[in-house]
């Protein structure tokens, strides 16, 4: 008999994470673990707190007033909310892709992709060019834009812009990539490309993805977590969550009975 598989490495983990907006909404006491080289999907009805939770994972709430985050969020065992931790460094290692494509509208395609490097002082042209090509290839956009890297990013289609946003996030080589409904504003073809991309990327980066689309979660994720009213109802391997969930509410939700 073969040796048992080594225990998967925990890349990120939250312990009792609570995000309080001061109005009763937010998320309460969420403890989850995210394994390396896995795609984790966060699902749940609108307003259940999944996006709020996701944004807490790279301290995006820092600039919003009247939001308090308590509990711990560990990246490789280190609490990103510990005193003395610079959120800028946290976000260098934990990238994010948003619901709507967010290219920097005044920059060229090239400058968008390497923005995370160029704007912190990387000047080496060869290196920037190499990073741009690598990232655009990873995001499956290279073939479409290779001949017009200097043209404005704003001229790309919505699906291309979203892949550009992904390329830009990958260019700084994050350990974790947070994706907040990355396909919700895209057509089915563009959605498929992004889903394929997620499958390829998980070899290099831990992916946590919020999605409204149950089929999407089933297609692309290894682990699924179901949020409801700011709390985690159930979390487990995706195939189990969709075929044989423990909690009745999970079953109802994945069957499409509410939400």
């Amino acid at each position: 008999m073969a040796d048992p598989a080594p225990a998967p490495r925990i890349r990120m983990e939250t312990r009792g994470l609570t995000v309080d907006y001061g109005n009763g909404r937010g998320v309460r006491d969420v403890s989850l673990r995210f394994e390396d080289r896995r795609v984790s999907a966060l699902i749940g009805p609108s307003g259940c707190g999944k996006t709020t939770y996701l944004r807490a994972l790279n301290r995006m709430h820092d600039l919003t007033r009247n939001v308090t985050v308590t509990g711990a969020a560990l990246l490789d065992g280190e609490d990103i909310y510990a005193p003395g931790i610079d959120p800028v460094n946290v976000r260098r290692r934990i990238g994010m892709v948003f619901q709507k494509p967010t290219p920097f509208p005044t920059m060229s395609i090239f400058d968008n992709v390497v923005a995370g490097l160029k704007l912190v002082g990387v000047r080496d042209r060869d290196r920037l060019a190499a990073v741009a090509e690598r990232s655009l290839r990873q995001a499956a956009l290279w073939d479409e834009v290779a001949d017009r890297l200097r043209s404005p990013a704003a001229r790309l289609s919505g699906g291309q812009q979203q892949r550009l946003s992904i390329a830009r996030a990958l260019a700084v080589e994050p350990d974790v990539l947070l994706m907040d409904e990355p396909t919700s504003s895209l057509d089915p073809a563009a959605t498929r490309r992004i889903e394929e991309l997620v499958g390829e990327l998980k070899e290099q980066v831990t992916i946590i993805i919020v999605t409204h689309n149950m089929q999407q979660a089933a297609r692309i994720s290894d682990v699924t977590t179901f949020f409801l009213d700011g709390e985690v109802v159930e979390s487990g391997p995706t195939d189990l969550m969709f075929t044989n969930p423990t909690d009745e509410r999970t079953e109802q939700y994945v069957m499409g009975r509410f939400g």
Partner: protein
């Protein structure tokens, strides 16, 4: 849309109700047109009057000779406002150099660092400064710069004009930055960029057309101010010894068009009155040219 109508009703309304709504629409449009004319007509009258009164004094000498003593104009010897035109360019552009970085910086504080302790204080002070009479700004610089330095100077005038420009630029910057979608900032922060980097590299360029407009409005406003200059750059009838050296204007009393326009207008010489109108034409042209250049600069993006 030019598709088929679903209901069989007439295209042209015949009901009394519809006719009344149609009429009301026309009345509203009429009022809006009337308001537009009320804005345009005084402007056209001013332009026509200034041009018709001053055109006769606009000759080659006007741009190449300095003013000198009134006897020059009275006896028909060559005279002009070269010293005021040159002085205006130097003093106004220096004011712009001072006001643009400071004003944009203050605008960034107002728009981007709302949680900062200085923010509410700056907002109140900025609005107060905007409402402060221009002559007081001149008096302030007179006290802070002219008195200690012992001389009126073009630079003191520039500082006074910069104070006129500052609150306008700061407010315009704030407005332009506030219009930039929040998502752009989040996208930058999510890349692990420091906040100031995100603002300078990703947010500010998007706001550029609004910034340029704000700077132009501030410039036009300051270029027409005489009051802050009376106590600071004072005025001069003569070109400096080296008329091509900007420092000559900045370090000594310097002439500027609005302040010169005022002193020509209150002088007892008819020839000088005509030159005053001509100074008005040049001032108008300056503002128009600056606006056109600014518009061209911002249009290139699109």
């Amino acid at each position: 849309m030019t598709g088929q109508r679903i209901s069989g009703g007439p295209v042209r309304g015949s009901g009394a109700n519809l006719r009344r709504r149609y009429l009301r629409d026309r009345v509203m449009l009429g009022l809006v047109v009337l308001a537009s004319l009320a804005v345009l007509v005084p402007l056209l009258i001013v332009v026509w009057y200034v041009v018709s009164q001053g055109l006769s004094a606009l000759d080659w000498d006007f741009f190449t000779q300095d003013l000198g003593s009134p006897t020059r104009a009275v006896t028909g010897r060559p005279t002009g406002l070269a010293q005021a035109i040159a002085g205006t360019l130097v003093v106004d552009l220096t004011a712009l150099l001072v006001a643009v970085p400071v004003g944009i910086g203050a605008g960034m504080m107002l728009a981007e660092y709302k949680e900062h302790r200085l923010n509410p204080l700056l907002r109140v002070l900025n609005d107060t400064m905007n409402g402060m009479p221009a002559i007081l700004k001149g008096l302030l610089i007179f006290t802070l710069v002219v008195r200690p330095s012992g001389t009126f100077s073009g630079f003191a005038g520039s500082l006074a004009l910069a104070i006129v420009m500052l609150p306008i630029i700061a407010r315009a910057t704030e407005g332009a930055l506030t219009l930039v979608p929040w998502s752009i900032r989040e996208a930058g922060l999510a890349l692990g960029l420091p906040r100031w980097r995100v603002i300078l590299a990703a947010v500010l360029p998007v706001a550029r057309p609004g910034l340029v407009t704000g700077v132009l409005i501030a410039f036009a406003r300051a270029a027409g101010e005489a009051a802050p200059l009376l106590l600071t750059s004072l005025g001069s009838n003569f070109l400096p010894r080296d008329p091509w050296n900007p420092l000559e204007y900045l370090t000594k009393a310097a002439d500027t068009l609005p302040q010169r326009l005022y002193s020509l207008a209150v002088s007892p010489y008819e020839q000088w009155h005509a030159m005053g109108w001509a100074a008005g034409i040049v001032l108008l042209l300056l503002v128009v040219v600056v606006f056109l250049v600014g518009r061209l600069l911002t249009r290139r993006d699109h």
